[in-house]
Amino acid sequence: MSANGHETPVSLTIDGQRVTVASGSSVLDACTEAGVATPTLCYSENLTPVNACRVCVVEMEGSRTLVPSCSRQAEPDMVIETDSERVRHSRKTVLELLGSGVDLSQADELGQWVTHYEADVERFGAGRATMEEPIRIQDELYIRDYDRCVLCYKCVEACGDDAQHTFAIAVAGRGFDARIRTEFDTALPDSACVYCGNCVAVCPTNALQFKTEFDLREVDNWRPEEQSVTRTVCSYCGVGCNLELHVQDETIVKVTSPADHSVTDGHLCIKGRFGWTYVHGA
């Protein structure tokens, strides 16, 4: 919960520009208000910030260290720099470190920031030192490709107490051995997973991928730029979840929900997320 309209708004300075945001807003919200784009990875507007990735850091007057903008609350008269040499250097290094160990080729948004900061993802050695894990395809709903995982924790949060309260996955192991895992690394259908797909929806790197998308990518036929997105209402229970139907070649290929919708906060259940196949007579 952030903005509370009944409290005094907060005014602060972002890159020399004065902005006013609702009390309880984050520095990231203030940056957005000031029209300053900020790279984020572990942040999502429908999840509690976990401060795992450090890619959204900014320089704050009076602070010894850089601060994560996603979780730092905006305070009156803060002076924030988002494009100082120190911020640029830090963001660039974070991207280079991430890119050195993880396949970011399908992390579209992050890729733009790699270009923006001229980050050299081969700086720490040519070729990516990924975990070389096999892609896990254990059912027809979604796949897990942990060579793309940056351990941002978003999936764990969405599965846990930020939304779903199923707790089917967590981080297991430490350091280089840290991985997102089901209990005892059991196969997904045998785990506590209820296939809401909320982890897939928040994954920023495509480590978690809907099977429909994965299958189309396998035959080089995933064309997001040609897809239409139509907002409608789920056909199952009476809660009124809004769906975004992603359609390619007159066929539904993916279902999401808007993160700012008051009913869903971007989250769905197995029926809303995956129960559309009958539309195409499957």
Binding site: T232, G238, V263, V279, H280
Partner: protein, 523 residues
């Protein structure tokens, strides 16, 4: 209080909101014969015997009254009939309620105290309350609790029936009820009829029609000879299904308009293939919280399938009647001109604001997040006080017997939906199929193992199902879903009893017997 609802599986995204409340310190009581996946999140689970809800609610009321926890100001100002109600619940002592419901007296007392003393409290229910032969009385018993404590008509407090289908609220709002015109205006009221007659240019019959259960009775007496069935699969979904199929089979004419070739459609004389309402056509649906939202076409309908509006319009034209309203927006504007609840919800507003909750009587009205706020106004908004309703415990119509000693109740599973016509093609890794849940004690007594196929019989017929042994199911209780009628006709088992006030069948309480199949010697 989640009462007769397994929202965790039947309304999963609503349950996200509930969990946020629990994370913020709310207390949750779950009243359900089964310890469901919802109950497991509750502070207290009250595992009552099937069909004893009124005894439990009346005991909660009595405990609140004798401890003087009831809201006397609210009762005096906003309600009537309290004295009769208090006298009627007097016999429902905690001890007697424990005997009837099987819920320990201490748990009933804890629920009564928590509910009465809470600053805000909601009672949420679904079909565990309404699929009984005394469904309306069950609902009254919960309304009584809200009136007793003032937990109604204000922010955060209320009575919340969770709707099971995406537009079951909208259907009723639009007049798909035997005695109502759109906007809940009575067909018996000449003034209401005159409004509609002026726009439609034809007389509106003043006599209420029949609800679904009475329609089947009218089919039996041949008073009803032709049925036009839109988007419903009664040949699979009705209780006592063999009887329902016989009734549909003896009609002179059955027309089915559907997106699937359902079992009902297979019985039809004429089938109109329709487009998928939420993905292939434009319109609105209304959710459980009275929120009207737009549905939109994302893909074209296949083959000859046409929009429902188009089909009905073409049928009218074939009868020689040309309708002027053609587009969803035109129809919506016609509704707004006739239904004060929807008057302020222009198509543009629905587009811009995403969704609006009725009543929304004017263009500048923001919509209504909750109802019955008038109970707190000085003049009660010009209405009369809300009445307490005296209701008595009856129990299920179908009593257990030596021949049928087990109680069968039914419900939904997370990944499936109703008769499975929509959810059947979802390739779910967590579907456990057409099982009957049995307690370990009953399984041991009958001599069956989990995974074993058993014969399940009720007074109406028998089916074969796979037994699933569920550790926390109470002895004497069994459970099944109704999602796989093509595999097992579980509605052969369900009771033919129904509520005379609402027409709802008692899906939740049949009596059954489970038998081991004769052992076959494998070669």
């Amino acid at each position: 209080m989640l009462w007769g609802s397994n929202a965790r599986e039947a309304h999963p995204i609503f349950f996200h909101h509930l969990m946020k409340g629990l994370d913020n310190g709310a207390k949750m009581f779950s009243v359900d014969p089964r310890r469901t996946s919802s109950s497991k999140f509750a502070d207290v689970w009250l595992g009552l015997n099937v069909g004893t809800d009124i005894a439990l609610a009346n005991a909660v009321a009595r405990h609140i009254i004798i401890n003087d926890w009831h809201n006397k100001d609210f009762i005096a100002h906003s309600t009537e009939g309290f004295d009769e109600f208090a006298a009627a619940v007097e016999p429902y002592t905690l001890e007697r309620a424990e005997e009837i419901t099987g819920v320990p007296a201490i748990a009933i007392a804890e629920l009564a105290e928590a509910y009465a003393k809470a600053e805000t409290a909601q009672i949420l229910w679904t079909l565990g309350i309404t699929e009984h032969h005394n469904a309306v009385d069950n609902v009254f018993s919960l309304c009584n609790l809200a009136l007793l404590t003032g937990h109604v008509g204000r922010w955060g407090s209320g009575l919340v029936p969770l709707r099971g289908q995406n537009n079951v609220q909208g259907g009723g709002d639009m007049g798909a009820l035997p005695d109502k015109l759109p906007g809940f205006q009575a067909v018996t009221d000449p003034e209401s009829r005159a409004k509609f007659e002026a726009i439609w240019g034809v007389p509106v019959p003043p006599k209420p029609g029949l609800h679904l259960t009475l329609m089947f009775e009218a089919m039996a007496t041949r008073e009803l000879k032709a049925v036009y069935c839109i988007g419903e699969n009664p040949a699979d979904s009705e209780a006592d299904i063999l009887h329902a199929r016989k009734m549909l089979g003896q009609l002179d004419l059955l027309v089915v308009q559907d997106i699937f070739m359902t079992r009902t459609a297979e019985m039809a004389d004429v089938v109109f293939p329709a487009s998928v309402a939420w993905a292939e056509s434009e319109g609105t649906v209304t959710s459980s919280e009275r929120r009207v939202q737009r549905v939109r076409a994302a893909v074209p309908p296949p083959g000859e399938a046409r929009d429902d509006i188009e089909i009905i319009g073409a049928l009218a034209a074939a009868y020689g009647s040309v309708w002027n309203t053609q587009t969803p927006e035109e129809l919506w504007d016609e509704l707004r001109s006739l239904s004060p609840l929807h008057k302020g919800m222009s198509w543009d507003r629905l587009e811009a604001e995403g969704g609006i909750q009725w009543p929304c009587p004017s263009d500048d009205h923001p919509g209504s997040p909750f109802l019955h706020g008038w109970l707190w106004e000085d003049d009660l908004g010009g209405r009369g006080p809300a009445p307490f309703t005296v209701v008595e415990h009856e129990g299920p119509k179908e009593q257990l017997s030596e021949e049928f000693p087990l109680r069968l109740t039914t419900g939904r599973a997370l990944d499936s939906y109703n008769t499975g016509v929509q959810s059947g093609s979802l390739n779910s890794p967590i579907r456990y199929g057409y099982t009957i849940d049995v307690s370990p004690a009953d399984a041991a007594r009958i001599g069956i193992d989990g995974g074993e196929t058993v014969k399940v019989s009720s007074p109406r017929g028998s089916v074969e199902m796979e037994a699933r042994i569920v550790a926390d199911l109470a002895e004497g209780l069994t459970f099944t879903t109704f999602h796989f009628p093509e595999l097992v006709d579980s509605n052969i088992l369900t009771s033919d009893a129904w509520d005379k006030k609402s027409g709802t069948a008692e899906f939740k309480a049949a009596s059954i017997r489970i038998e081991k199949l004769k052992e076959t010697v494998s070669g």
